[in-house]
């Protein structure tokens, strides 16, 4: 990632509830954004495509976040596959991967980059 990265404002951090996903429309793509609170109480933001390849539906943002073996994951709501929020790789089938996006907090604003 270079300095030229273009960050786009998405929403205020207060609009995202801890551990509950939202879906953003970003460059015509659906992006699920999660604010996961880790055990030390620190907030971590993740952004991942909202399209679930197993159910072929835009539903990832409505899954439950958590961890499996030290990986922070999201469980797809329809058939419950887990995706590593860091890499987008599916835990149950390593060949399946969803795109992830750079996401950051600028002041109180959540921003995405391509």
């Amino acid at each position: 990632m270079t300095n030229q990265t273009q960050w786009a404002n998405i929403c205020e951090t207060s609009e995202i509830l801890p551990n509950i996903g939202v879906c953003a429309l970003f460059k015509n793509q659906q992006v699920a954004i999660f604010k996961v609170i880790d055990q030390e109480g620190a907030e971590q933001l993740f952004a991942i495509n909202n399209y679930c390849p197993f159910s072929r539906s835009n539903t990832i943002s409505r899954g439950i976040a958590g961890n499996i073996n030290n990986k922070i994951v999201i469980a797809s709501p329809l058939y419950k596959q887990h995706f590593d929020l860091e890499t987008g790789i599916c835990i149950e089938d390593q060949n399946v991967k969803i795109s992830t996006y750079p996401v950051r907090l600028k002041g109180s604003t959540v921003q995405l980059a391509a």
Binding site: I10, L25, R62, I64, A65, G66
Partner: protein
């Protein structure tokens, strides 16, 4: 045909039938031309479970013969046809109706008959024995005009007969000659505790009573007079004074007999005539008659092996240890229960508060178990029996085996220590190796083990042990029997429930902090949310709870395959006004929703986008609808038939009751979904017997059924209580649901919960009806707390603008999800299939 061996089986009881099954299993049955005679009018039924006939008075409940078994195997069965003679010289058997059948081999399986001592008056009317369905039918008929019943004989069967009398609504007495009950199986201390417990249940026990005369009574039909000058007035008498082998055929045919009866057999079950085998209760082996089913089945197997030459199993005697539940009281007796072995030592534990008596008898050096008596709590039966049967060395302080453990850990044996040959289930002769093999072949729950090994399908006494072996084996294979909920909590759902209640925990964070690790996941979060809801019943969207909900709970609708949701308003009991139906139609039209009548007697509207849900529900709530909780592990529907208001057969207002029940339990969160139904009469149009709780109207109230299931593995509900008043019915259901909520596993329907419950239906009754655990008040209070805090989740949500925000698809745009595409079929929408979609793009 003619070169087949002519085999005649005399007696179609459990053992005779078991022989035929074993013959088929040997693969040799086609070489035999088999004729079976049974004196009773019905084909073989399970006498061990005779008493359960009372439940429905339906022989189907205890029938042993798989449909088509006799014709498929070309066996000829004559029921209601007694054999009257065996001519060993002409090799012909003759039956009552005069049939003559030639034989090459005979299997004598005529069982035994109840012994009736020749007390003057024993031939009077209303004097019965307890052996056949016919006996039960006669008793039931006589009970209708009777108030008092007495059983003569306080042994195992006598107590079972006493239970039957009690269930028939009679004041019940047990009269025993010996100074204690079950004199053969238990010692004095155990007998005393047993008497006490049985008297607590309302049965009067009279020991040391020698019945000398039965005559016409004044206040009652009979008057019994005892040797000590006392008397007892009763309307019905049941003799249960022991059994005698039905050996008259054999005696007349001149076969070798024991001095006190019984047909003498060798280890191959062959009698003194090489062509005649005897098996079951008629057979005398090593001067012993075996009055239990397991030895009978073992004899059947030995006879098949010898007859067909397909095996070498011989009958080698049998262990007579028993474990039973008599009127809900656990009773077990193992080996040398009386400590008759010279120099043996015994250890006893008596707890008068809990009414528990336990004794073990061990060898002089404390190394081996010789016998045991357990009354009131027989949890250790399985492990103690294995210690004895396998001559396993006892731990250094053997009394620890029966002392209550202070830290809650079990003092039983590790099942790993059992040898492969250890017989876990004696009824069905299933060894540890059989169970292990089944697990290795893929059986991974008790249901599968039962169906492929038959273990635990007899008396049920071995269930706990078989389950332990199963779990142990699964663990070894690395299969997650691990009862931990998930990697975040090393607890079962039941543990977590107790923790949340006792520690008064209100949030997942607190639970995780104190008892878990990591961040949680899609297993433990919804489970915790569910338990928190069962306990505290707060709104699913409450700040601390919302992140825990499955999407269905979170959106208060079931997500469909394309990401849209279904809308299911509650239609209690299936009753709906025309106006409300019109509203449903209008709403469905307005939002273009697919509309269907569900299998639960209500209407489901499909295809709502998340952002449409609040508007749709606004209109429904305004029209008086509430959420139907089609999402969520909670009460679904209480189906009902139309009942006595309209139906010519209805005996109670099933509609009214179902609506009352649905409104009482709506919103109740539970380990899995709950379904109920109410039928207005025994025709059962609401299919109540397939529900978690089913209610069927009777002339005088309601019959309550529990633990039925449709779905993947159907299970008929069990009759739980009869002729209940409205308030008793609701009280029992309150307790039942709350007890289930407390103790079931995650996603365990009541049916599976029941199938895994040690002690089964009787235990459940003792908890819910007799309040054995002293929990009833607590359970009722917990239920009323839930009922009092009910809110329609949708109504609360649409009244709160903040809660409404979550329903938009995008956080930063008002656009819709363009991946939701419908097509139409039969004038309604449906999600377009991927194949159709691809086609559409190609055409473009």
């Amino acid at each position: 045909m003619s070169d087949k061996i002519k085999l005649v089986v005399i007696g179609n009881g459990p053992v005779g039938h078991n022989f035929l099954e074993a013959l088929v299993e040997s693969g040799q049955s086609e070489h035999y031309q088999v004729t079976v005679f049974g004196e009773e009018p019905l084909p073989a039924y399970d006498r061990v479970h005779l008493t359960s006939w009372f439940k429905n008075q339906d022989v189907a409940d205890i029938n042993m013969v798989k449909e088509g078994f006799y014709p498929q195997n070309n066996f000829t069965l004559f029921t209601g046809e007694k054999v009257t003679n065996i001519d060993r010289f002409k090799q012909i058997v003759t039956s009552e109706s005069g049939q003559e059948i030639a034989y090459d081999k005979i299997i004598l399986a005529t069982g035994s008959f109840p012994f009736v001592p020749p007390v003057p008056g024993h031939q009077r009317d209303n004097v019965f024995v307890y052996r056949t369905i016919d006996d039960l039918e006669k008793m039931t008929a006589a009970a209708k005009n009777s108030k008092v019943g007495a059983v003569i004989g306080g042994g195992l069967l006598g107590l079972e007969a006493a239970k039957a009398l009690m269930d028939l609504g009679l004041e019940t007495h047990v009269v025993e000659f010996a100074p204690r009950l079950m004199a053969v199986q238990v010692d004095d201390g155990g007998g005393a505790m047993l008497s006490k417990k049985i008297q607590d249940l309302g049965v009067s026990v009279h020991t040391q009573k020698n019945t000398q005369n039965i005559a016409a009574g004044e206040s009652n039909f009979h008057k019994m007079s005892f040797a000590d000058g006392t008397e007892l007035n009763t309307d019905i008498i049941v003799f249960s004074a022991g059994i005698r082998p039905r050996d008259e055929l054999a005696r007349n045919a001149g076969l070798g007999m024991g001095a006190r009866g019984g047909v003498v057999i060798n280890n191959n079950c062959v009698t003194s005539d090489d062509n005649i085998y005897a098996i079951g209760e008629v057979a005398l082996w090593n001067n012993q008659i075996f009055g239990l089913i397991a030895p009978g089945n073992a004899m059947a197997k030995a006879a098949v092996d010898h007859l067909t030459g397909t095996g070498t199993i011989e009958f080698a005697g049998a262990d007579m240890s028993t474990k039973l539940k008599l009127m809900g009281v656990d009773v077990a007796s193992i080996g040398d229960a009386h400590g008759n072995t010279p120099n043996s030592r015994s250890y006893t534990y008596v707890n008068d508060r809990e009414e528990v008596y336990k004794k073990i008898v061990v060898s002089e050096d404390d190394k081996h178990l010789l016998g045991a008596v357990l009354i009131g709590d027989a949890a250790e039966y399985g492990s103690l029996l294995q210690f004895m049967l396998n001559k396993m060395e006892l731990p250094s302080e053997p009394e620890g085996l029966i002392l209550p453990s202070v830290d809650g850990s079990s003092s039983g044996i590790g099942v790993d220590a059992l040898p492969d040959s250890a017989v876990l289930c004696s009824c069905m002769n299933v060894s540890k190796a059989d169970v292990v093999d089944a697990v290795q072949a893929g059986a991974c729950d008790m249901g599968a083990i039962k169906s492929c090994t038959k273990a635990a399908t007899g008396c049920g006494g071995c269930t706990a042990l078989v389950t332990q072996v199963l779990n142990n084996e699964l663990e070894k294979q690395g299969v997650e029997v691990n009862t931990d909920l998930c990697e975040h909590f090393a607890y079962t759902r039941q543990d977590l429930y107790n923790i949340i209640r006792v520690d008064n925990i209100k949030t997942f964070e607190e639970l995780l902090d104190k008892y878990g690790t990591g961040l949680g996941c899609d297993i433990c979060k919804p489970t915790a949310a569910n338990i928190l809801a069962s306990c505290w019943n707060e709104h699913v969207f409450n700040h601390n709870l919302q992140g825990l909900q499955d999407t269905n709970d979170y959106y208060m609708g079931n997500m469909q395959k394309d990401g849209t949701y279904s809308v299911v308003p509650r239609i209690a009991g299936g009753e709906i006004t025309p106006n409300k139906l019109i509203v449903l139609g209008e709403v469905a039209n307005k939002y273009n929703l697919y509309t269907k009548i569900t299998g639960g007697q209500r209407v489901d509207l499909f295809g709502a986008r998340s952002e449409q849900l609040p508007m749709i529900w606004r209109e429904l709530v305004d029209a008086g609808f509430e959420t139907g909780h089609a999402y969520g592990k909670s009460l679904r529907t209480v189906k009902s038939c139309v009942g006595s208001n309209w139906c010519r057969y209805g005996v109670q207002d099933s509609m009214g009751m179902s609506i009352r029940l649905e409104n009482r339990y709506k919103g109740l969160r539970s380990p899995h979904k709950l379904k109920m139904a109410v039928s207005g009469c025994t025709r059962e149009c609401a299919e109540a017997q397939s529900k978690d709780v089913g209610v069927i109207a009777t002339e005088s109230g309601w019959n309550m059924y529990v633990c039925g299931n449709g779905g993947m593995k159907p299970r008929h509900a069990d009759l739980f209580a009869s002729d209940l008043s409205d308030s008793d019915l609701i009280q029992y259901i309150d307790r039942f649901f709350m007890f289930y909520i407390r103790t079931a596993d995650r996603l365990q329907r009541t049916s599976v919960w029941m199938d895994n419950m040690e002690g089964g239906l009787e235990y459940l009754k003792s908890v819910i009806i007799d309040d054995k655990l002293g929990l009833a008040d607590e359970l009722e209070q917990e239920m009323s707390a839930v009922v009092d805090t009910y809110q329609c989740e949708w109504k609360t949500t649409i009244d709160d603008p903040i809660k409404m925000k979550r329903f938009t698809h995008f956080i930063n745009s008002d656009k819709q999800d363009d991946n939701i595409i419908f097509t139409t079929e039969r004038e309604q929408i449906r999600p377009i299939a991927t194949t159709e979609l691809e086609l559409a793009f190609e055409v473009k």
